[in-house]
Symmetry: C2
Subunit: 137 residues, 2 copies
C-alpha cells in the first residue's frame, strides 16, 4: 500500500498540476486546499524538489511549481521516489534490486510470478502521468 506520505504527495502534485503555468503556489495553500498537514507537506515538497520534480521560489510571490509539463512526469517515477519499490520482492525490483537470501532465482517459482506482477503494474504506472491525475473536463 502507498504510505500516507505518498498519498499526500499525489494530492499536492495533483493541485500543482491544476495550477501549472500559473506561477508559484504556497505550501500553505496546498495544505489547506488538499487537507495535508502543513509541516509534513513541507518535507514532502522539499524532497520532490531535490529530486528535480518541483521548483521553488522564496519570498513574496514565491512557492512551489512543477518543473516540467505534468504530461512528462510518470506516476511510476513519483511512486519510486516517495514510496519506494513497485515490485513485491527485492529480487525482482528494477530500481531497488537486492538478491534474496537462500533463494535461487533461476529455480524460484515465486520469483517468476512476481516478475509478471511487476511488469503488469509497470504497464500502467509507466504510462500514466501527472496529467492523468486530474478529473476529465
Amino acid at each position: 500500500m502507498l504510505s500516507k506520505k505518498s498519498q499526500y504527495a499525489f494530492k499536492a502534485l495533483a493541485y500543482l498540476t491544476e495550477k501549472f503555468n500559473q506561477g508559484p503556489v504556497l505550501i500553505s495553500e496546498i495544505s489547506s486546499k488538499k487537507k495535508v498537514p502543513l509541516k509534513f507537506l513541507e518535507n514532502i515538497l522539499l524532497e520532490l524538489k531535490k529530486a528535480g520534480i518541483l521548483e521553488s521560489k522564496k519570498g513574496k510571490g514565491g512557492g512551489y511549481y512543477l518543473r516540467k509539463d505534468p504530461a512528462q512526469i510518470k506516476v511510476a517515477t513519483i511512486v519510486r521516489l516517495v514510496n519506494g519499490p513497485i515490485a513485491m520482492l527485492p529480487c525482482v525490483s528494477l530500481y531497488f534490486y537486492k538478491r534474496c537470501d537462500n533463494c535461487d532465482e533461476t529455480s524460484c517459482g515465486l520469483h517468476d510470478i512476481m516478475i509478471q506482477v511487476r511488469d503488469a503494474s509497470l504497464g500502467v504506472l509507466e504510462n500514466k502521468t501527472l496529467a492523468d491525475l486530474l478529473p476529465m473536463k
Copy 2:
C-alpha cells in the same frame, strides 16, 4: 513489498507443495530446509491453518500439510491472508476497502489509475497457484 513473514510463508508453502500427499511435515523440517526461524514459522503456519489453508496433526507422526490440492490454492489468497491488501490504496481494495478521507472517488484521477494497477496485478495473482511455486521439471 511483501513482508518477511509473507516470504517465509511462501517458502513454507512451496515446501509443503513439494511434499503434497506425502503425509504431515514437521515445522522443524521446514524451518531447517527453508532457513526460516522456527518460532516465527510456528506462528505463520498456525495462521495458515486457522485460515483453512493448512491442516495439522499433533504428536508423533504429526506436522503440517496442505488441506487442498496446491493447484487449487491461489497466490492472491495467500498474499491477502499473510500480507494484506494487494491494491495500492484502501479506496481501490476489493477485500480491504476503506473510503479515502477528502477524496471524491468519482473525480479522483489517482483512484482510476490505482484500479488499473490493481486489476493488472490481480490478473497474475488470481491465476497463479501454489503449484506454480515449484520449478518446472
